[in-house]
């Protein structure tokens, strides 16, 4: 008499037809806890065993949908809320561009979640042992035989009943299977052998990835995409005499929509002839304030008092509230912005004409705020 705990009784069959028949008979006999082991999926087995549809699909559905909406939410947050950049003239919420990513994340999260759910719930992670492992029965059914295993957990199970049932089905090699002697907890995934295998795989994968992305891409012929026979900005060139890769515009041409400033060395003429085309409405003043705060305030101060934030690295400019500034015409201020004055450079490349005029209006508003007229108080 051995004191081992009985796991179940197994029987072997030779053909798929026999195993289908056996599965039908066993399920008809009222057994619930039994299993069929075959070397490949046998068609019609689910019906023969009267298995209900697997619940695993729901995990795939839930996690798949989670992936879809998580991808959408992440992209919405990144490209609409947090860091909106215009890419190729497309709207920030460029849905068609999101779809492939949503699709991929759906597939990825659904498949990973399915595998993880299967391992965690159906295989009872971290357990990796099974009484059938290493048995003669398992060796047979994983090569060319078909087996049935009646488990002792089943309510209907009795040793004699199981043997009788298997014999009535003409099963061969009817053998009992016992739980292994060792304590169960020892056989978990946290075994040094398995952990070192995981480590080995991790090192190979990450090392391979590192090699591919950081070394391989710089080797011939994989670097052909990176180094092409063309001149990129800031690069030198052997073709042109001056050695510059970037070329200045052809003489006498201007870039589209950009008229050169025509009163470059004629401040008096500018002050006399130029008129501000804008009216000081809310939007114009907002533009003016924005541009003033960016380009003018570092030297002139936020309120035009000449209190530079540059800590004396440049000589402080005069206040914009001086008599001279206040009485000069719009055209004259516009001229200073466009052409520069004394140490102040030209801002014509940073500011469009409209923006320059808007800045002029904002300067006027600043001046007015320091030297308000009586009528403004009414």
């Amino acid at each position: 008499m051995n004191d081992k705990i009985l796991y179940g009784y197994t029987g072997i069959f030779d053909t798929p037809d026999e195993i289908i028949n056996a599965a039908e008979k066993v399920s008809d006999a009222g057994y619930k806890k039994y299993d069929i082991n075959t070397p490949y999926p046998v068609h019609g087995m689910d019906g023969a065993m009267k298995l209900p549809p697997s619940k695993l699909g729901y995990a795939a559905l839930v996690f798949g949908l989670t992936g879809t909406f998580a991808a959408l939410a992440i992209m919405y947050f990144m490209s609409v809320l947090d860091y909106p950049i215009v890419i190729g003239g497309k709207p920030f919420f460029a849905f068609p561009a999101f779809v492939p990513i949503m699709f991929e994340v759906t597939v990825l999260s659904a498949s990973i979640a399915t595998v993880v759910t299967m391992i965690a719930f159906f295989f009872k992670f971290p357990n990796i042992s099974h009484p059938l492992h290493g048995t003669n029965y398992m060796k047979k059914v994983s090569s060319d035989k078909y087996g049935v295993c009646l488990q002792s957990e089943d309510e209907k199970f009795t040793e004699d009943g199981a043997k009788e049932l298997l014999a009535s089905l003409n099963a061969k090699d009817i053998t009992p299977i016992y739980f292994p002697d060792e304590v169960h907890e020892k056989q978990t995934v946290f075994e040094p052998k398995f952990i070192s295998l995981l480590l080995f795989v991790a090192i190979i994968t990450s090392g391979g990835t590192y090699f591919a992305l950081n070394k391989l891409m710089f080797m011939l012929p994989f670097n052909w995409m990176m180094y092409q026979e063309k001149t990129v900005p800031q690069e030198s060139s052997t073709i042109f005499a001056d050695g510059f890769g970037m070329r200045p515009p052809v003489e006498g041409t201007i870039s589209r929509g950009n008229m050169p400033y025509q009163f470059k060395d004629q401040p008096e003429l500018a002050a006399m002839l130029l008129k501000n085309p804008l009216v000081p409405d809310e939007q114009t003043l907002a533009t003016g304030k924005e541009k003033y705060d960016i380009y003018c305030s570092p030297c002139h101060g936020y309120f035009g008092e000449g209190d530079s934030r540059l800590r004396g690295q440049y000589p402080n400019p005069p206040s914009l509230h001086s008599e001279k500034s206040r009485t000069s015409s719009d055209g004259s201020i516009y001229h200073v912005i466009s052409a520069g004055q004394n140490i102040m450079p030209s801002y014509s490349t940073q500011l469009t004409r409209q923006e320059r005029w808007a800045t002029v209006l904002y300067v006027r508003a600043l001046q007015r705020s320091f030297n308000a007229k009586e009528s403004d108080l009414e």
Binding site: E24, H43, G47, G57, G88
Partner: protein, 396 residues
């Protein structure tokens, strides 16, 4: 489990005469209206005829493709109803007749046939070596010839097997199918380019052939599924198909719905992304006026509704649901072709009148007529096929 016995004897049952009558009636009414249509407005009629031509080619070539696929894949589950696909593939025989009115009205359909329009148009001039009427005629004739020849070769062996029960005929058909596949891919791609893409000769899309292919297989599968379920309900197969057969048909349709959506979206997204005027205008035309609603509708008709209609496992096993979905998919394929072709005829908005109904009636009538005529002197089951018994006993 009710396994079909090996000594199973097939007794041929004729299809009800009412099918033939219905086919004749629909064809008669349809053809009468079609003739009137050509007298009333031959341009519009030619466009509608083109839609019907593409629809019938879809079913014909698609069915032939499914037959060849079954041989190549060694599929067992579809063998019991391969004959249904063979009957549907017979549509190929009347395609040249359906194409004749289209061919006689090429000037109404294709901008590139007008010499004065081509002259001075740099792009069209560059395309003339391909887009000219003599070469077009040769190509179209070649497509029909290839399809019909392979149809006869495959069907002849299958028919012969009913009497001789010779297994080597299956091997022969596997070889023929392997030869047919590349021919099929090339002819179908170029047929879609010639008949449909060249309606807008300035436009091009390299995925267009695959797009039409996805719809083709879907239409043939849907037509076949409908016929199979109706015949099964009335007991013409002499055995009952089980849910495993229905599930396989439904799963294949479901896969091709997804495939269509994948291809359609890929085509749209690349054009949308690149935003090149020479490509985007094709989609913009389909966004003009009331076409916008047709375009939005296409997403729902061709993808969303059949997707959810066939998503769950029980829905694929339920023959009633499958019958409805297969009719729906046939409608969706027609809708797709309408969306592809009609915006060239009426650029500002939907054109839908009695003419758009006349051609589908005629097409449907022809389809039923051909089906019942083919079924008359052939067995409904390929009784000599060595895979038949396994197919009848097929379980998932």
């Amino acid at each position: 489990m009710s396994a079909v016995e090996s000594n199973f004897e097939y007794v041929k049952k004729d299809l009800p005469a009412s099918w033939n009558k219905l086919g004749l009636l629909l064809t008669g009414i349809g053809l009468l209206l079609v003739v009137v249509a050509f007298f009333v407005d031959h341009t519009r009629a030619a466009f509608n005829n083109l839609i019907m031509l593409m629809f019938l080619s879809s079913i014909g070539v698609g069915a032939l493709f499914i037959i060849a696929l079954e041989y190549l894949a060694g599929a067992v589950w579809s063998t019991p109803y391969r004959r249904i696909m063979e009957f549907l593939a017979a549509t190929l025989l009347i395609l040249p007749l359906v194409a004749l009115p289209v061919y006689m009205n090429l000037h109404d359909l294709f901008h590139w046939t007008h010499e004065e329009a081509v002259q001075g148009d740099y792009i069209l001039e560059a395309k003339t070596p391909y887009l000219n009427i003599p070469f077009f005629t040769i190509r179209v004739a070649a497509f029909f010839a290839v399809w019909i020849i392979f149809f006869f070769l495959l069907i002849r062996n299958s028919k012969k097997q009913d009497e001789s029960k010779d297994q080597s005929l299956t091997t022969k058909n596997i070889r023929l199918s392997a030869i047919f596949m590349p021919f099929f891919a090339i002819t179908l791609t170029f047929a879609s380019i010639d008949w449909m893409m060249s309606l807008e000769p300035h436009w091009f899309s390299t995925i267009f052939g695959v797009y039409y292919f996805s719809g083709t297989v879907l239409a043939a599968l849907a037509a076949g599924t409908y016929a199979i379920i109706v015949l099964n309900e009335k007991g013409y197969f002499q055995f009952k198909l089980v849910k495993d057969h229905f599930y396989s048909l439904g799963a294949l349709m479901f896969a091709f719905i997804n495939f269509w959506a994948y291809i359609a979206f890929s085509q749209f997204m690349l054009i949308w992304y690149a935003n090149l005027p020479e490509e985007t205008f094709w989609y913009l035309n389909k966004w003009e006026g009331s076409w916008m609603f047709v375009s939005i509708g296409l997403i729902f008709v061709h993808f969303v509704i059949p997707y959810f209609g066939l998503l769950s496992q029980p829905s694929k096993m339920n023959p009633k649901n499958l019958k409805f979905m297969s009719l729906w998919i046939l409608f969706a394929h027609f809708y797709d072709l309408y969306w592809l072709i009609m915006p060239t005829y009426s650029a500002d908005g939907i054109a839908f009148g009695w003419m758009e109904l006349a051609f589908p009636i005629a097409g449907l009538g022809l389809l039923i007529l051909i089906f019942s005529m083919r079924a008359k002197n052939q067995n409904l089951l390929p009784i000599g096929d060595p895979k038949l018994k396994r197919g009848l006993n097929f379980r998932l």
